[in-house]
């Protein structure tokens, strides 16, 4: 299969969906003139016009709010958040408006908005440009939260998100944009709400998502050589969670580790762990292990950032201790 980058994969998704449906448009800061910080919008304005690929003022509340309003009036907006770190600015628009409108108004209207939010650590960008905030949004009823780990899923999930009549947050790790991987040429959709067992194994289930899932795959290879067979589950969607895939895997392996780049306390790992402790504790032959970032803001200096990062070694270490 041909290989393209994550950035190109999302670009294809945008292109295909904007071609298919005239009500799809995208707006955000600095996306049109230069094609997005990660090249993820390159060429779109030339093809679809600067009206459907809009550079906005630096006003996250207006961008997200206007996305919601445009959806109520018949459009299907994709809104780029520039960096996920700025979602605090428009948090009210996300959780009190976008997420609640369908329910609160008794199902009168759908809110087909997609928020694209580049997140995670890259280039020593420090405390306000490096965060992984997805856990907050799994605590918000009414949102779907998608978070791919590779180009193929990015394309398929973004297309599904755009077609979904519910508001969808699409987290895309900044370090993934340059990652290449096989992506089918023919059209496909990746289902929202389905995790994927990417690597089968029998000793331990390793659940992760986004960039970290790739870190887990590396850890799994390291452990393989030591005789530990790791099953790697890529969540892909964190709300709604695909419980069944996790529970089935844990039933088989009897051990669970969850890994993410976000800080451990209050992270997605807690929810996965709690689900298993509630519904499948009897399968377990070991404590459930979580690997997440230390409980600090992201520091700037290299040695500190390095200490902060989730590495294959750290994941492997945590898993070794389970045996």
């Amino acid at each position: 299969m041909r290989e393209i980058t994550f950035s190109q994969a999302t670009l294809e998704a945008m292109d295909e969906e904007m071609s298919r449906d005239e009500t799809v448009f995208v707006m955000g800061e600095d996306i049109a003139r230069q094609g997005g910080i990660f090249g993820q919008f390159k060429g779109l304005p030339q093809k679809f016009g600067f009206d459907r690929v809009k550079d906005t003022p630096i006003t996250e509340t207006a961008i997200v709010g206007a996305g919601v309003g445009a959806a109520l009036a018949g459009m299907r907006p994709v809104v780029d958040m520039h960096f996920a770190d700025f979602m605090g600015v428009c948090m009210d628009e996300i959780f009190n408006q976008m997420a609640k409108i369908h329910y609160m108004f008794g199902g009168q209207k759908t809110v087909p908005v997609v928020l694209r939010a580049p997140d995670g650590l890259i280039n020593q960008a420090a405390a306000q440009h490096s965060q992984s905030l997805e856990a907050w949004f799994m605590h918000v009823p009414g949102l779907k939260v998608v978070i791919p780990s590779n180009p193929a899923d990015a394309k398929g999930l973004l297309k599904s998100a755009i077609r979904d009549d519910n508001p969808v947050l699409f987290f895309e790790h900044k370090a993934l944009f340059r990652m290449s991987g096989p992506v089918p040429e023919e059209e496909y959709l990746t289902p929202i709400g389905k995790a994927k067992v990417v690597r089968e194994g029998k000793d331990v289930t390793l659940v992760s998502y986004s960039l970290c899932f790739n870190t887990c795959l590396k850890a799994a290879e390291m452990l393989d050589k030591e005789g530990i067979s790791v099953e790697c589950v890529d969540l892909r969607t964190i709300s709604p969670i695909d419980k069944n895939t996790i529970l089935e895997s844990v039933a088989k392996t009897t051990r669970l580790a969850v890994v993410h780049e976000a800080v451990k306390q209050g992270g997605v790992g807690a929810e996965i762990s709690a689900i298993v402790a509630e519904e499948a504790i009897d399968y377990l032959d070991a404590p459930i292990v979580r690997v997440g970032a230390p409980f600090t803001p992201v520091p700037f200096a290299k040695p500190l950032e390095q200490a902060y990062r989730i590495t294959p070694e750290k994941v492997a270490d945590a898993i070794r201790k389970m045996f």
Partner: protein, 334 residues
């Protein structure tokens, strides 16, 4: 060039007004007034739950503006949204049912007073978040433009809400993109317990229009004729593509902030004085009788009709079934 807001006057005469239009002004204002009086009564009697904010004393504003809107135009309102919703043409029965938390309500009882919405008449929703509506309305205006429609969107907000950052972000975006939207500030002098001048840095909120390069206009919000004519011109221009405008309607909140408010922050006398001297409905009655464009009987007939309609709405809401607990899980995702 100097761009202080323009102050609009009342028409010198209303003799050339169409009779049906005059009747509709009165009908809408009275409908709102009776509706709200019923809400107060029923809330205090324990029939209506939740937080309820009434529009009494501000009827001329919503009525004067909405009379200029088509049913496919959009409005976005606030926690104090009953009046706008009625003026936009929402059915009273289903509206009252929603406020009672009943199943046939617009939101199937999930929303209540603070979350009324009736998309079938272009009412995009009340909002429990003060200042939460500006950006949604801006997006609706953007959508109508992108879809090639000539709809106009109107967003209502209070003096208190005028200080929220969302106003600034939406106003700038609307002006930078020339969107078909009218920002209507209903300056009723109070933001909850706070006199607006203690927290708002300008006397006239319309002064802020200049900072976005949009026209700012001030009108007596308790004069339905002045509001109507001022809004007509603005809405016509906006529909033709003039870009956004800001209209400040000076009015007064006769009721407490919410029904049941002890109102320890102002005197009864202050309120009574305004109500006596500046009630938009009495002013309408006096003027139409004065100028002899309507008769007392005509007014009374309308009153009676409206009274009946509101009573029916209350009865409907009372009798309506409550949602079943199982409905809790419905309408979350499509």
């Amino acid at each position: 060039m100097c761009a202080k807001p323009v102050r609009k006057k009342s028409p010198t005469s209303i003799r050339n007004y169409d009779k049906d239009l005059l009747k509709s002004f009165y009908e809408t204002m009275m409908k709102i007034r009776y509706f709200e009086q019923n809400i107060q009564e029923k809330f205090l009697a324990g029939e209506i739950p939740g937080f309820v904010h009434v529009y009494i004393g501000e009827e001329a504003t919503g009525t004067g503006i909405m009379t200029n809107l088509r049913s496919d135009d959009y409005i976005q309102t606030t926690h104090r949204g009953h009046g706008h919703t009625i003026a936009k043409g929402a059915e009273l029965k289903r509206m009252m049912a929603e406020i009672y938390g009943k199943k046939p309500g617009f939101c199937k009882g999930k929303g209540g007073s603070m979350h009324i919405a009736d998309f079938s008449v272009g009412m995009l929703g009340a909002n429990g978040v003060v200042g939460g509506g500006y950006t949604l309305a801006t997006g609706a205006a953007l959508a109508t433009r992108m879809l090639g429609k000539d709809q106009v969107t109107v967003v209502f907000f209070g003096d208190g809400a005028s200080n929220r950052g969302t106003f600034h972000e939406a106003a700038n975006m609307a002006a930078a993109w020339d969107l078909p939207i009218l920002f209507v500030c209903e300056n009723n002098q109070w933001a909850s317990t706070t006199p607006y001048r203690t927290t708002t840095s300008v006397e006239d909120i319309a002064d802020r229009a200049q900072g976005y390069g949009m026209p700012g206009v001030i009108v007596d919000g308790n004069d339905v004729f002045a509001v109507y004519e001022t809004a007509r011109k603005l809405i016509e221009d906006i529909r033709k593509g003039s870009g956004p405008a800001l209209l400040e309607c000076k009015t007064y909140r006769i009721g407490g902030h919410f029904v049941g408010d002890p109102e320890m922050y102002r005197t009864k006398e202050e309120v009574q004085k305004v109500f006596k001297e500046n009630d938009p409905i009495s002013r309408f009655e006096e003027r139409v009788l004065d100028e002899k464009v309507m008769t007392r009987e005509e007014l009374d007939q309308i009153k009676e009709k409206v009274l009946k309609e509101v009573d029916e709405a209350v009865e409907f809401a009372r009798q309506a079934p409550e949602p079943d607990p199982s409905e809790l899980y419905q309408d979350l995702y499509v």
